[in-house]
Symmetry: C2
Subunit: 254 residues, 2 copies
Amino acid sequence: VNLILLESQEIGADGVARVEGERARHITTVLKSAPGATIRVGCIGGGRGTATVDAVSLERVDLRCVIAAGDARRPPIDLLLALPRPKVMRRLWAQIAAMGVGQIILTNAERVERNYFDTHVIAADCYRPLLIEGLQQAADTYLPNVSIHRQLKVLVEDHLEALTGESQRLIAHPGAAETVSDAVCRTAHTAVLLAIGPEGGWNAFERDLLGRHGFAPVAMGPRTLRSDTATIALLTLAHDGFARRNSRYSYPHA
Amino acid sequence: VNLILLESQEIGADGVARVEGERARHITTVLKSAPGATIRVGCIGGGRGTATVDAVSLERVDLRCVIAAGDARRPPIDLLLALPRPKVMRRLWAQIAAMGVGQIILTNAERVERNYFDTHVIAADCYRPLLIEGLQQAADTYLPNVSIHRQLKVLVEDHLEALTGESQRLIAHPGAAETVSDAVCRTAHTAVLLAIGPEGGWNAFERDLLGRHGFAPVAMGPRTLRSDTATIALLTLAHDGFARRNSRYSYPHA
């Protein structure tokens, strides 16, 4: 954890936040912060700053916070992900948030098993703490927006434009000519939407549907990777493409 | 699983391999292969090919294999990794093998807890099946070489050159000017050795030691990632650098 995240309503008008549970234990036992110590903090959806540890008890830590005003910067990368199996998805939440994404759009596909949508792993009370864990690791404050769609066709035809706006739409496809990093590097779009299929791949109908809605195929090497590995690899290459385009790109740091 | 891997001694002089356990179950219940069906196979350390399913019983499958002669191609990327905590390392084995590495060199560092070296997760009978799982996912046959070193100084001064030969040595460092992909793209070295530190980073002595032994700092973005996420990101960028240098680079496919 490189930053302790606070909900805006946890911070009082006097700038003092009282944290309990996991975060309090982390401050006292991992960071070993005593009263007077300074730690890095951030406000979910807001700025980052520092806090002075005011008081420490077994179960509670009082933090006197000085946090920059303004909203968190949204990463320029959105993810359209065919829902992986629950065990893999559970591991992915924190890693995706740590890599930095604006939005996580989970969808059904022929090769996604229907019962994946009935699991707790896509409930907000399960994934929100995992996203926050990833943000604390990466010292970011932007909580990705999450939406869940049981019909790919309805999502792509009716909702995707409102969700993502004007993005460069890319679909990972073995054998495509251009790499993700090159594709992101060359366009003028300010944001990118990456589509990642299920373990067995999109079927012909789904590929065609996405192709007709502007998703251009990009290569990510010839190896077939598990969903979680592929997702991290693609996010890495997309961030690298932005960095090659603009040497000052260094999300989330200003 | 995109390829069933066989040990060379499992394949008889007549080309028939008898597989049991996990692989047999995978062939019958996931691939649903009946006698006469053709599946993709490979020989660990050797070539790839196909096999005809000859006989199927509850616990055993007979495969008549036709596998290309020759040795597996070694990926041009080696990893020098400060041993992550056991839970993270356990998850990493398959993912590293799926990404493609020639060699995994695990080392101690100040910020690695000593007891990590006493765990089962770095015993060959634990990691070898996990590496094979990753290779089967990526349809590769090259089993990475693994070595474990309890003293970074002894490793770097006395053993690293013999282990890796003439490699471009890179160390991930927040704030470095050049990105991993750019660094790999511009050099004439045929192989790269990537050093990845522990969660808390290398200490000053370790950074200096590695610097004096030719490790050049490269950036991988400003975010501090967990060891497993960072490892996948770095391997992705190194492969991408090779692909940018040579448009025909597409390890492991010829």
